[in-house]
Subunit: 412 residues, 2 copies
């Protein structure tokens, strides 16, 4: 294992920090209907105020508030109704003392009016006259021309995936095309003499179908990237190096899942090292499962070497790979993940200095969530698909006691 | 308001239950690389066992466990190494008592072997002989041929959106094409004389750009649907009816956001009622904001009439519309949403029997999350984009005290 002894095992945070030269993808313009979850390259600010005009927020009557002071059910104000504001047009009315205009929700405040009385607080018993039975203050029943958004105000921040309400805000502000980071292209390559494509109908004894690549492609999409398949390479360092060189030149990030045997891992490590400079920056992460992970960089492109077992590979890719996909994709404000608090059914042992990732199944017992750890060889895919989520034993802990409450990150 | 008085306000659960005739979309076949978050029409079960052969889970030596019983550092077993198992092929070795074969992780167990000793527990000092210094039991260091998945075992359940690990499992099992529910097509139509398309560069006084349609399209996508725009219809009941008839005949679900004025709401209600049978099944939901919501059905197609204010419309669509999109899309097991527990900064008043949805901003104070309610007219989009999530005051409560812990559903 040439070179391996020069690297000490790193924590996840150290591993991520060991790739400082990573830059985000360049910008591309997209329309609003393609913008969900895309990441603005720059802060998007308002060019115009919103709503842009003083606007009624209730159905009722536009008035001069002073005309309503002191009124009550027993002592209403009687105002002359001089017209009606219609939706979507500027009213050609001017309110003078003692007058009112009928007003729909969303209508433009006529000149001279400074408040809207809700229809529920009026009666129209005499034609052409409205009785107002509750006083209003100036500003009641309306929003000002820049009350929603003032010119220059932030509509959507750089670096945060756009949410559905952001799209509404951008539409309201007339922003229908925007600069977002290009989705990072993530090259995925599998190695291993025993690994065959999922389409293989009949397996020879000893062959396994490539599970990791399909699962990784899913996680890449969840992190906002576009997976690109580089297929399966047998345990041949020179061939693997050629495939990885292609991937590095065409992708923003490259992931290679090593074969499961120690020989395959060494071939992968050698091929990745030769891709440099700078080459391998981290070899071995203090995570279980997933220790034999390597991080490298070829120019600006990060290369992640994952363990061969699918469970280990997916655990590490969640911890290290998805944050890198987000970083390369310009995402600086990571959306929240679903989590739950649950009571651990049994004790978990761990080593200090090592992060343990435990797959758990959640059940409700007496109204409380309980998390049952799922164990089994990390070669077992069924452990991962049976899990509702995972919990961790942090680096500083030497284990968790049965019965404690833990945070479970939920799969979705 | 013809007919309105015949409907009493419903709770969200009652409203959803009032559309019993809704059926899920039919099936379509997709490849694995398009299957993330898609919803299997039926349970997918294994046709073959996995891994399909007894497989080593460590690097080491295949042995007969009985040969290692009682061994120790001081008293090792000496076994003849009769060959090496190579990856991806069936070994042509047969282990007899007193022999061993070198074994890579993932290799096929040779005939006669029933355990694998980890390489760390061996020494090879004499060529052709391995010293075993720790005993193993039958089954150690390997997984059986059907230990991951037995024939007939569930690979992925019907009705639950496929997760990344599911894709790995399906790939391993050779399932590369699968029947999933077609994504439900959701027609979105906006009404209101004052509403103009987001592309409108210069607004006349009184006009507002359509914010709701773009935000709804985002929520439809989040719920697994495909939004289809039916544009903006002025407050003209007959035209609206024609547009809605088109939408109902081409979509799996139709959403119409009413204009904000009472006149526009009545035109919408009238047009939706005429679409029947069965027509409007629920008029008014006990939710704030969002009370003037209507649910209807035209044949099997649900029609949701939303309030005109974007904030109200989006609140209701999250509570009522997204569950309907999922139901129509065949999703019976809804993925978890991100949530947080936070301390409420101020008291919230509410009416018993009404669900209040409160937009909140989250901040960390002394290591604890606090939730500050955001208030403002429901015409303000900025309330929604400033919020990190929402909390609810449930139907049975008359308010929440300042300082209590609340559940916040986080936007992502």
């Amino acid at each position: 294992m040439p070179g391996r002894e020069f690297f000490r095992t790193r924590t996840v945070a150290e591993a991520l920090a060991s790739l400082p030269g990573v830059t985000a993808t360049s910008a591309e313009r997209v329309g609003l209907d393609e913008a969900l979850a895309r990441i603005p390259k720059d802060d998007i600010v308002a060019q115009w105020p919103l709503p842009g005009f003083a606007r009624s927020t209730v159905d009722g009557y536009a008035v001069q508030a002073v005309d309503t002071y002191g009124v009550s059910e027993g002592l209403p104000a009687y105002l002359d109704v001089i017209g009606a504001v219609t939706m979507g047009t500027a009213p050609d009315l001017v309110l003078r003392p003692g007058t009112a205009a009928t007003m729909p929700t969303g209508g433009v405040m006529p000149d001279g009016a400074d408040a809207v009385v809700m229809v529920e607080h009026t009666q129209q018993t005499i034609p052409g006259t409205v009785e107002v039975v509750r006083p209003v203050a100036p500003g009641d029943g309306l929003i000002k021309a820049d009350e929603d958004v003032a010119v220059g105000q932030l509509l959507a921040p750089a670096g945060r995936p756009l949410r559905a309400p952001d799209l509404g805000m951008l539409a309201a502000a007339g922003v229908t095309s925007l600069a977002v980071h290009a989705r990072p292209v993530v090259g995925i390559c599998s190695t291993g003499d025993e690994v065959v494509p999922p389409e293989t109908a009949e397996l020879a004894v000893g062959q396994v179908r490539d599970a990791t690549a399909s699962a990784l492609a899913g996680l890449v999409r969840e992190a906002g990237g576009v997976p690109r398949s580089y297929g399966i390479v047998a345990d041949d360092g020179m061939r693997l190096e050629r495939v990885l060189r292609d991937a590095v030149s065409d992708c923003d990030l490259v992931v290679v899942s090593a074969g499961s045997s120690v020989g395959a891992r060494d071939e992968t490590a050698g091929a990745v090292e030769r891709l440099g400079p700078p080459g391998i920056v981290c070899h071995g992460i203090a995570v279980r499962p997933g220790k034999p992970t390597l991080l490298a960089q070829c120019g600006e492109v990060p290369v992640v070497g994952l363990p061969g077992n699918p469970l280990s590979a997916l655990v590490v890719f969640r911890l290290v790979g998805m944050p890198l996909v987000r970083r390369v994709g310009g995402c600086t404000r990571v959306p929240p993940e679903p989590r739950a608090r649950a009571r651990l059914t049994r004790q978990l042992a761990s080593q200090a200095g090592r992060l343990d990732v435990i797959q758990v199944r959640l059940e409700r017992e007496d109204g409380q969530l309980v998390a049952s750890p799922l164990f089994g060889a990390s070669a077992l895919l069924s452990v991962l698909t049976a899990a509702d989520g995972y919990t961790i034993v942090p680096e500083e802990a030497t284990g968790l006691d049965a019965g404690v409450e833990v945070d479970v990150t939920l799969y979705r």
